[in-house]
Symmetry: C2
Subunit: 336 residues, 2 copies
DNA sequence: CAGTTATGTGAACACGTGTTCATAGCATTC
DNA sequence: GAATGCTATGAACACGTGTTCACATAACTG
């Protein structure tokens, strides 16, 4: 009953050393590849360590080797958004391939800036920030703490900050041209949260491309990047008697909501009565029953570029900041 | 050019102390609520710290206060699975409410056990394991390292391991009775990965409830818990001429895939020609166009219980292990 | 055999913090 | 006026590790 109830401490290298009858240094060396240590001794130590369930404390190790904690914070968008969820999955897996441990923040709308600043208490190897609007204020703190920052879905010019971003305007223009080529002339835009640059760029690209075709927008509407928001917006448009024959949606989730509303509330056929094009190319867009024409915001390429910039930045902390542009691609399916 | 290229070190408390003309102890006290420190002095220190961008190193702090690193590892399922994605989002947000930082692992099928063992190098406050099959081997290591483990979607009896699990058999039985009450007699089961206990329990519940109604399964099939898998399985069933009038699917994603296949490949009307019931109640199930009848595997309640068990375990590390059962609820919509 | 090199090894240091210890000043109480 | 209690403060310690330092032994080289 000596230790009852109390949380006993973690096994330490000193305890392993005592049990194996060696010095503590030897234990540390046993877990360090390439260190001078007698083979038999190393095996003895590893065996004892295994029995005791010893594992070097990563916190203490990270404290020792300054500048490499192997922790990387990811500030994600709302995971109800499928695009963010799929990106996160790829990102988490890829970071493990680099030996990094991802600390995940956000995942919901009310992401408090306080949380982001809080995680900076850890000596992070890097901070990956997906979209969002807190970038500017966070960047300042990152700079002071010498923590590299990688921005995805947004561009910012600051020392130590690298960016990966889709050419949103170009993607929007591709959608417009595809709709016009299909014979559509009364085109509408359904945007997302207006204060995000992704939405602004897609809208600008939409309007510019439309002007080049000698057309002007028939409708400019906004929702919240969600299926439900897209559904409600489309229902309101239909009820308001809006006359459109093509709609470009700022992301796929809203496009799917619009399709559901157009079919169920408006009795419309797609694409006969209304052409729809989305943005992102989430996995759901390819599902039979949706078959959504969309602009691919390539996730694999995005994650790949994030990792490339991350590695380069860790290699050369003082290098110039860089922006990796992701080329959009029009995926032709059945709704345009 | 003195420091060019080299990654300059993080600001430390000693540097703040020197800049503010106080002892290092005072700096530490300035960031500790309730410590004896002259008010003016504290304000001075905080001001200097702000200017220098100082932030106490959480690694060193965690090393100091043994037993509380505020790090919690989450081993999630594949995030392509919407249920896992939605659970993760809630979990991440809730853990922040407890002041914990979530380190996320997995998110893809090939979750290597090596990764899970690797994260145990950190002195975690706890490990949350969603579903999966690596539980047994991990539990042993957790026990040796005195790291509390919380299992979700799976039950295991071991000291220091708490579990949260839906009563899968009961949920399956509810689905069966709803189908029978609708007049269905030729019922099939579309399961997920067979070696997971969630699938086994749901199938057992299905068969038992069916037997109680004096019926036997018309079809027992398996897919991979994905939309695409459900679609393919349903197509094969239709091509094979299977005679069923009701299908219970082990999760919603497969149920949605089955619906798409039944409509597009088989030309069937739902629920007129075929009743379908899913499991989980992901947000998509409620979308117009799907309107899926399903057994709710309550996510809010699950996360809430995980947090309760976590708090209780941190409060009393030696307490008996506990299993929190989540009561399933039949959500009646339009597909049964 | 003398001289150089490669291999082992334990003691000691550094990482950056929170907290205890001892001491000192000051205000309050009897 | 002495005794007591509260506030404030810097030095010192502990946390658990990786690595350097000094030294010892063994293995080659000429």
């Amino acid at each position: 009953m000596q230790n009852s109830g109390r949380q006993s401490r973690r096994i330490t290298a000193a305890q392993v050393a005592e049990a194996a009858g060696v010095s503590r240094s030897a234990v540390s060396r046993a877990f360090t590849a390439g260190a001078y240590l007698d083979r038999a001794k190393r095996e003895k130590i590893l065996k004892v360590a295994q029995e005791l369930g010893y594992r070097p404390n990563a916190l203490a190790a990270g404290l020792q080797a300054a500048g490499r904690s192997d922790l990387v914070a990811i500030v994600t968008g709302d995971l109800v958004n499928h695009y963010d969820a799929e990106i996160l999955a790829r990102l988490v897996q890829s970071l493990r391939g680099l030996g990094k441990w991802p600390v995940v923040l956000g995942g919901h709308e009310d992401l408090r800036e306080e949380d982001v600043l809080g995680v900076l208490g850890y000596p992070l190897d890097a901070l990956v920030l997906r979209g969002g609007s807190v970038a500017e204020s966070v960047a300042l703190h990152c700079a002071k703490l010498n923590i590299p920052m990688i921005l995805s879905g947004r561009v910012m010019s600051a020392p130590g900050v690298d960016c990966v971003c889709c050419d949103n305007a170009r993607g929007a223009a591709m959608a417009v041209r595809a709709l016009v080529a299909r014979g559509r002339r009364k085109l509408g835009y359904l945007g997302g949260v207006p204060h995000l640059s992704s939405d602004q760029d897609r809208r600008t690209g939409f309007e510019t491309a439309l002007a080049e075709e000698g057309l002007s927008p028939a409708v400019l509407a906004h929702a919240d990047y969600s299926f439900e928001g897209g559904y409600a917006a489309a229902r309101d448009l239909l009820a308001g008697g809006a006359e459109i024959d093509g709609l470009f949606c700022a992301n796929d989730a809203m496009a799917l909501g619009v399709m559901a509303a157009a079919r169920q509330e408006g009795g419309l056929s797609i694409p006969e009565d209304l052409s729809i094009i989305g943005f992102d190319d989430i996995s759901m867009a390819a599902w039979p029953g949706f078959d959504l024409t969309t602009v691919r915001n390539d996730m694999d390429e995005t994650v790949s570029q994030i990792l490339r910039l991350l590695s380069a930045r860790l290699e050369a902390p003082g290098k110039d900041n860089e922006v990796a542009w992701i080329e959009p691609e029009l995926i032709l399916r059945g709704t345009h």
